[in-house]
Symmetry: C2
Subunit: 333 residues, 2 copies
Amino acid sequence: VTQPIRVAVVGLGSIGRAVYRTLAARQWVQIVAAVDVDPTLIGRDAGELAGADAGGVPVVASFGEAGTGGDVAIVCTGSRLEAVAPLLGEAVAAGWHVLSTCEELAFPWLRHREAAAAIDDAARAAGRCVLGTGVNPGFAMDAAVLHLSAVVDRVTAVEVERVVDVATRREALRSKVGLGISATEFAQRAAAGSIGHVGLAESAALVATAFSWPTVDLDESLEPVFADAEIEVAGRRIGPGAVLGIRQTATIREDGEPRVVLRLTMYGGAADPHDTVTLHGPSPITQRITGIDGDAATITVVVNTIPVMVTLPPGLVTVLDVAAVRARHGLIE
Amino acid sequence: VTQPIRVAVVGLGSIGRAVYRTLAARQWVQIVAAVDVDPTLIGRDAGELAGADAGGVPVVASFGEAGTGGDVAIVCTGSRLEAVAPLLGEAVAAGWHVLSTCEELAFPWLRHREAAAAIDDAARAAGRCVLGTGVNPGFAMDAAVLHLSAVVDRVTAVEVERVVDVATRREALRSKVGLGISATEFAQRAAAGSIGHVGLAESAALVATAFSWPTVDLDESLEPVFADAEIEVAGRRIGPGAVLGIRQTATIREDGEPRVVLRLTMYGGAADPHDTVTLHGPSPITQRITGIDGDAATITVVVNTIPVMVTLPPGLVTVLDVAAVRARHGLIE
């Protein structure tokens, strides 16, 4: 490739700024636009906002104002598809491929079948592709499973365990798992759907789809992890009985048998953080990864996926399109 | 995909037969041809030869006799490119994509630059692609590294360790590592290049190329592992001082610093077989896989790669084209 890939960063929150900062140091990328609807950001130097060199591009309010266009728009505006969907349509219509950290976009057919179809239609009509990815969903609990399955003839069930110590992660994640709140508040936020990890069910559906298992029998659970005794987490004292974080599970069954079991444990002080994948079957296989730096890794996966975007087929694609060498005992989807 | 992929199996030795047997049980594949130059095989039922159902296709001597053609030819005739190259040319000229277990084809530019260019030219001219893959090279010591690097911003060095207990593997591998021979015979066979694993240097070159490191400073070593005391391996008594297998290393340095170190240990009775990848850098990461069934896995990787062949660009491609989401701090090649 002789020409740098022309990129837009859309959404200049903490993730968008980190993406911008990383891309500013890459010779193979040229940042040609920065988009955010926040009026306090519009007109500001995106490089400066991101803590990269100043002299970056100015923040504009929409793709229409983003100039002559480019290759790949990185959309980092939220976890929920409903909020992100209009932007995706604008981006492909303006000629951009879209790479997004929106967790529900990793497998939007699961919860937003109609919106997914609309995005797919718009992307195909524009000859562009749209992909949701990151470290989770996008790698740790889905793509890593598919990659490993390349050496396996037949997978009968998949178990994934991800253990994260939120003490070493960003404050937003500690808040997302309820660090320091009471059991009562946890129950309230769980009922309101405002606690826990978005994307676990999507990862489970990706894995099931990869191996031709139906996704209809999907079960999710979310439980708090409590402090036994007072403990310090990221400079905060958490008293006994307060919430340290979560245990979240997504299970997909076929005829009552578990096919995909994803266990995500994220709490302050969690010992031995790791990512383990077990593929059950006639020739079982286990993979254990230690050292994934979760906050950085979301940025990294997105950045590392940019060069692939220009090679994918048009439409709404998933990590199934990217991690294509995988166990293929089922029919091809 | 509604139409099965039409496949030819070329070379009906033990690997080709196992590929045939596996494919015969896959609904998404239709075996349309079997090719082997061995006069004792020509005209025989390939399904019967492979131990699959009889009623398979008859073995023919060349692509010219293989009928109306198809999609993907699986070439399993040898490890050395020189022996395989003419077949590759015939296959693409006859309209087949080629997937091959030929170890040197995994990165043929390393040792056969001119032959690689000729294969690439022929494949591009025919609009077909040619890929060398398997479990090693093709996964354990190269693609697995690239997949893991998707979550890493910057890799400064790569270490891979693969430990194989040949007691649990096919007899051909035990012979390839010199099980039971003397130190003298090992030295003779090492000097003649007729012992050890073909493809380790190719894996090292793939990894280095992925991260934009030059491959010129490449060093290989091969040492015997001896039995300390009498030991039984796969039903054979190996006396003290006899060879149990090999330790083989490939190292690529840049400015004297090791960038890629691949250590392959294969001997009878090796404890704790595993595949470990460590990516060094600002945020080091380690992956450990246990349970790769080496003999089956070569077949499996090839079979699992078939659906991808029809999506790759024309020409001579590598696992770099397949494992495209990876650390991208270097320039895009």
